[in-house]
């Protein structure tokens, strides 16, 4: 390597680093693919919020549906709640997973803010959450008619998220209602 070329080594190193760092700016470090994509929704038998009977996997599987992990302690859940009610009104089946919450508070929440859920699975201990790979709320899973998890969205579901990612997948999987 001639001394002339050597002079450019720092510049080249800088350029390569700048390229990687610039790329890094656009990446979301918290965006993790779920380990359960294309795996079956885990088995469970848990109480149904506000109801006598218990729910298990076969009760909630059978059509393309959203599984929304929510809790009354979760501020973002309150933010996305009105949009979930709109989706439910449009005919999208939504099941709730009431994650590490108290039944009384959860029932109050649904009574005051409205109930977008077909049913809410009571997951007080977070055991179903652990099996689904939930690490916080809100998270929303798209499950197909065979009960296979196809997509997970971490964070608030709003119109933008629904239109850009969830709805196309929902329709592709054969989801009934279109909301457009």
């Amino acid at each position: 390597m001639g001394p002339r070329v050597k002079l450019f080594v720092p510049l080249i190193i800088f350029a390569v680093m700048a390229l990687f760092l610039f790329r890094g700016l656009a990446l979301d470090p918290r965006a993790m693919p779920s380990a359960l994509i294309d795996h079956a929704l885990p088995d469970f038998t848990l109480a149904s919020l506000g109801q006598e009977q218990e729910l298990s996997r076969q009760d909630v599987v059978g059509e393309v549906a959203l599984f929304n992990v929510w809790a009354t302690w979760c501020m973002s859940c309150r933010v996305e709640h009105p949009y979930l009610i709109k989706l439910a009104g449009d005919g999208v089946p939504i099941y709730g997973v009431n994650y590490k919450d108290e039944d009384g508070a959860a029932l109050d929440w649904l009574a005051t803010l409205g109930n977008p859920y077909r049913a809410s699975i009571v997951d007080n201990e977070g055991t179903l959450g652990l099996d689904m790979g939930v690490y916080g709320a809100p998270e929303t899973y798209l499950v197909d008619a065979q009960g296979i998890i196809r997509f997970r969205h971490v964070g608030v579901v709003d119109e933008r998220v629904w239109n850009s990612t969830l709805e196309p997948l929902y329709i592709e999987l054969g989801g009934k209602a279109s909301t457009r």
Binding site: P29, R30, M32, P33, S34, A35, L36, K100, G126, G129, L130, D131, M132, G133, V134, Y135, G136
Partner: protein, 159 residues
């Protein structure tokens, strides 16, 4: 006054230690071997919520749940491999601070060796080059010796 300061320090130390204890719950292990494995595994598992902490350091609810799960799995007699694949099947390879050696992670594992080899090569080459470039001792010819001597003498005289 001094006793007051001492008291303040005592209170501070006590509250600090209490805060420290509040972070980590304690589990009763049936054997010390299990407890050792618990400590080892909990520092090796990464918290999915607070991504730069292991589950032993983090007090996020999910880290608490994972510690509880780890405890239950250990007490049920699971091996380390079983526990890790249990965690990975739910939270992905991400939860392991010591990733498995696979195609995707092989670069991570061999990179230190490659970097070390590269560094050694660079040092070797540059040392050799320096040795080669070192000036050889050159004998002056008789004529040159004489010229040098004349010059030195001239300098001495002119001073």
């Amino acid at each position: 006054m001094i006793s007051l300061i001492r008291l303040a320090f005592l209170v501070l130390a006590l509250t600090a230690s209490m805060a420290g204890q509040a972070v980590i719950e304690t589990y009763e292990f049936s054997s010390t071997a299990l407890e050792r494995r618990y400590h080892q595994l909990s520092t090796e598992l990464r918290c999915p919520k607070c991504q730069n902490q292991n589950i032993a350091d983090s007090n996020a609810p999910i880290a608490q749940d994972l510690r509880k799960l780890l405890f239950q799995l250990l007490e049920s007699g699971a091996t380390n491999d079983e526990i890790l694949s249990h965690m990975v099947s739910r939270y992905g390879e991400f939860v392991r601070y010591r990733p498995r050696l696979t195609g995707a992670t092989s670069l991570l594992w061999i990179a230190p060796v490659l970097l070390l080899l590269g560094a050694v090569t660079i040092v070797y080459i540059s040392l050799r080059r320096r040795k080669g470039a070192a000036p050889e001792t050159v004998e002056l010819s008789a004529q040159e010796q004489k010229t040098l001597k004349d010059m030195l003498e001239k300098v001495e005289r002119d001073r």
